[in-house]
C-alpha cells in the first residue's frame, strides 16, 4: 500500500539522511523502524507526509506519488496518514476535545473549524475515540493539564479521527515511563489491528519493538540494514545496526517480556 522508491534526502548542510531507501508496506502491516539516533528514522517518516521535502525518489501511497502533489492534493493525501509524535505535540493551550477534533481539519472548511462548529458525526467519533482510550471525562480539560501517557492517548485519537489508512508514529514512547510505554504501544498495535491500519513506528527501544511488532526494519546511516521478523534480530544484526555492544542481555529480557505480555 505504501511504497518508497529510491527515497533520498540530502539536507542543505550536505548531510545525506536517507540514501535511496526502498521499502514496501502492505495493507494492515505494522512495522517498527529501529536504529541509532541520527540514522534517519525521523526524516524517513517525515518524508512520507512531506513535513520534510524528500530530495529525490518517490513515495507511493496506493499508487499515487506523494512527492509530485501540489499543495491542495498534498493536504488531501495527508488526511490519509495519521501522525503520532514523540513529545505528543498537542496544542497545549487548547482543550483535549479541540485537539482531537483538530484531526478533522483536513475535512472541514476554515470558518467551521475556526468557530469550532464541527459536524455532529465528527463530534460523536471524537467521543467514541476518547472513550476507547479511557479519556472521556477529560474532554474539556486543557491539554497541558494531562499526564504524559494521557497526552499521548489524545495524540492517538487525533491521528485516528483522520480516518487514516496509515499511521506514522515517531518515537511514541520516548518521553514515557516503561509501564506507560508498553500500554501506549499495546494501544497503538491493537487499534491498528481493529481498524486494519498499516503503521510505521519509529522506536529506539528494541525490546519494546520486538514485543509488539511482526516486522522490524533496521536503519543505519540512512540505509536499510535489516528487514525481517523480530526474532531474526540476532546480536550480530544488532551490532550491524547499532555498533558493538553486549546484546545478549537485551534479547533475553525480550523473551521474559513476551511471556509476561502473553499472560
Amino acid at each position: 500500500m505504501l511504497r518508497l522508491q529510491k527515497l533520498t534526502k540530502t539536507y542543505k548542510t550536505g548531510d545525506q539522511a536517507l540514501k535511496a531507501i526502498d521499502l514496501d508496506v502492505p495493507k494492515g502491516q505494522v512495522l517498527a523502524l529501529i536504529g541509532p539516533s541520527g540514522a534517519g528514522k525521523s526524516t524517513m517518516i517525515r518524508c512520507v507526509n512531506r513535513l520534510v521535502e524528500p530530495s529525490s525518489g518517490a513515495v507511493l501511497l496506493e499508487d499515487v506519488d506523494l512527492t509530485k502533489l501540489g499543495a491542495g492534493a498534498l493536504r488531501k493525501a495527508r488526511r490519509e496518514m495519521g501522525m503520532i509524535f514523540q513529545e505528543y505535540a498537542l496544542v497545549e493551550r487548547l482543550t483535549v476535545m479541540e485537539n482531537v477534533l483538530s484531526g478533522r481539519l483536513g475535512y472541514v472548511g476554515f470558518w467551521r473549524s475556526f468557530l469550532r462548529r464541527y459536524p455532529q458525526s465528527d463530534v460523536d467519533e471524537a467521543f467514541r475515540l476518547l472513550d476507547r482510550v479511557g479519556l472521556l471525562n477529560m474532554a474539556d480539560k486543557r491539554a497541558d493539564e494531562l499526564s504524559g501517557g494521557q497526552r499521548q492517548r489524545v495524540g492517538i485519537c487525533r491521528a485516528l479521527i483522520q480516518n487514516p489508512k496509515l499511521l506514522l508514529v515517531d518515537e511514541p514512547t520516548a518521553s514515557l515511563d516503561p509501564k506507560t510505554s508498553r500500554q501506549i504501544m499495546r494501544l497503538i498495535t491493537e487499534l491498528c489491528r481493529e481498524r486494519g491500519l498499516a503503521a510505521i513506528i519509529n522506536i529506539h527501544d528494541v525490546a519494546l519493538a520486538q514485543m509488539f511488532v511482526p516486522r522490524v526494519v533496521g536503519l543505519r546511516l540512512g540505509e536499510i540494514v535489516y528487514d525481517g521478523g523480530p526474532n531474526g534480530l540476532t546480536p550480530d544484526k544488532l551490532t550491524e545496526i547499532y555498533g558493538e555492544e553486549d546484546w545478549e542481555a537485551t534479547i533475553e529480557k525480550v523473551e521474559d517480556d513476551e511471556i509476561e505480555a502473553a499472560e
Binding site: 476535545m97 455532529q120 463530534v123 460523536d124 471524537a126 467521543f127 467514541r128 471525562n137 474532554a139
Partner: protein
C-alpha cells in the same frame, strides 16, 4: 465525574467551554465593552472634510520621504541633532551612575528597610511622571535650553534603571551571594563579588536600551523648549516644510536603528 458514559455523550453537540465561566459576568463584559466602544467612537468629533483635504497633504508628506531635504536647513538640523545626542550621552551617564546605588537600595534582599522605602519612593515618583511633564516643570524652573532636557532624561533614567536593576537583584541566585558572604567578605566586597557578576550582563543590556529610549525622548523635549532636535522638527511642521521634516525623521530612525544594532552587539558580547 466518572459516571459519564459514552452513550450520554453521543449525539450531543459539543461547544468549546467559554473563557469566562460565569454566564452573567461574560455577558456583562461583552455588552459593557460594546457599549463603551459605541460611546467612545460617537464622542470623537471628526471633521471628515478636513481629513479629506488632509489626505493630499499626507500624500505630499509620504512623497517627501522619497526626496528628503537635508541641505536647506542643514545648520539647524545639525545643531539640533548634536544637542539631542549630547543630552542623551550626558543624561545616560549621569542617570546610570545614580541609578546603581538607588537600584541597590531598592532591592529588598540587600537594603535595610528605611533605605528601601526611600529608594522605592524615588523610583515611583520618577516612573509616574512622564518625561515631557518633567521637562515642562524644569524649563519653568531652569529656563530654556538643554540643561532642562539633560536633567529630565537623567531623572527618567533613574526611575527606569533602578527599578529593573532592583528587580534583577531581588531575583538573583542567593547561594552564590551567600558563598561570598561565608568567606568573610565585607559588604562592599560582597556586592562586588557576590552580586555584581550576576546582574552585570543585564545591567549593561538595560543601559543600552535606556540610551536608545533617551535618544528617542530627546527628540521631543524640544517641543517644550528643553533642547534637542524637537524644536527644529516642530518648526518644520509649522512651516509645512515636509521635506525637511522627512529628513529629520529619517535621521532619527537611522540613529535609533544604529543604536539598536550596537546594543545588540554589546549585549551579545557581555553575555
Amino acid at each position: 465525574m466518572s459516571d459519564i458514559t459514552l452513550d450520554q455523550m453521543l449525539g450531543r453537540g459539543w461547544k468549546k467551554p467559554p473563557f469566562v465561566k460565569r454566564a452573567w459576568l461574560r455577558w456583562t463584559l461583552i455588552i459593557g465593552f460594546i457599549v463603551y466602544l459605541i460611546a467612545a467612537v460617537s464622542t470623537i468629533e471628526v471633521d471628515w472634510g478636513r481629513v479629506y483635504d488632509g489626505l493630499d497633504r499626507g500624500w505630499q508628506f509620504v512623497l517627501a520621504f522619497t526626496s528628503p531635504d537635508f541641505t536647506s536647513r542643514w545648520t539647524d538640523i545639525w545643531e539640533g541633532l548634536l544637542e539631542s545626542i549630547v543630552m542623551t550621552v550626558a543624561a545616560s551617564v549621569v542617570g546610570i551612575l545614580i541609578s546603581i546605588p538607588i537600584g541597590l537600595g531598592a532591592a529588598r534582599n540587600i537594603a535595610p528597610l528605611p533605605v528601601y522605602v526611600v529608594c522605592r519612593g524615588i523610583v515611583a515618583i520618577s516612573r509616574a511622571l512622564q518625561e515631557i511633564i518633567v521637562a515642562i516643570l524644569l524649563v519653568a524652573i531652569f529656563g530654556f535650553g538643554p540643561l532642562a532636557g539633560f536633567l529630565t532624561l537623567s531623572f527618567a533614567t533613574i526611575g527606569f534603571l533602578s527599578k529593573l536593576l532592583a528587580e534583577d537583584i531581588e531575583a538573583m541566585d542567593k547561594v552564590q551571594a551567600e558563598a561570598i558572604k561565608a568567606s568573610g567578605a565585607r559588604w562592599t566586597q560582597w556586592i562586588n563579588y557576590g552580586v555584581q557578576p550576576q546582574v552585570m550582563p543585564r545591567l549593561v543590556g538595560l543601559s543600552m536600551y535606556r540610551i536608545d529610549i533617551n535618544f528617542r525622548e530627546s527628540a521631543i523635549l524640544g517641543l517644550v523648549g528643553a533642547g534637542g532636535i524637537g524644536a527644529t522638527l516642530n518648526t518644520a511642521f509649522d512651516r509645512y516644510e515636509y521635506d525637511t521634516a522627512a529628513a529629520i525623521l529619517i535621521m532619527i530612525i537611522v540613529i535609533v536603528m544604529a543604536l539598536e544594532y550596537l546594543s545588540g552587539i554589546i549585549r551579545a558580547r557581555v553575555q
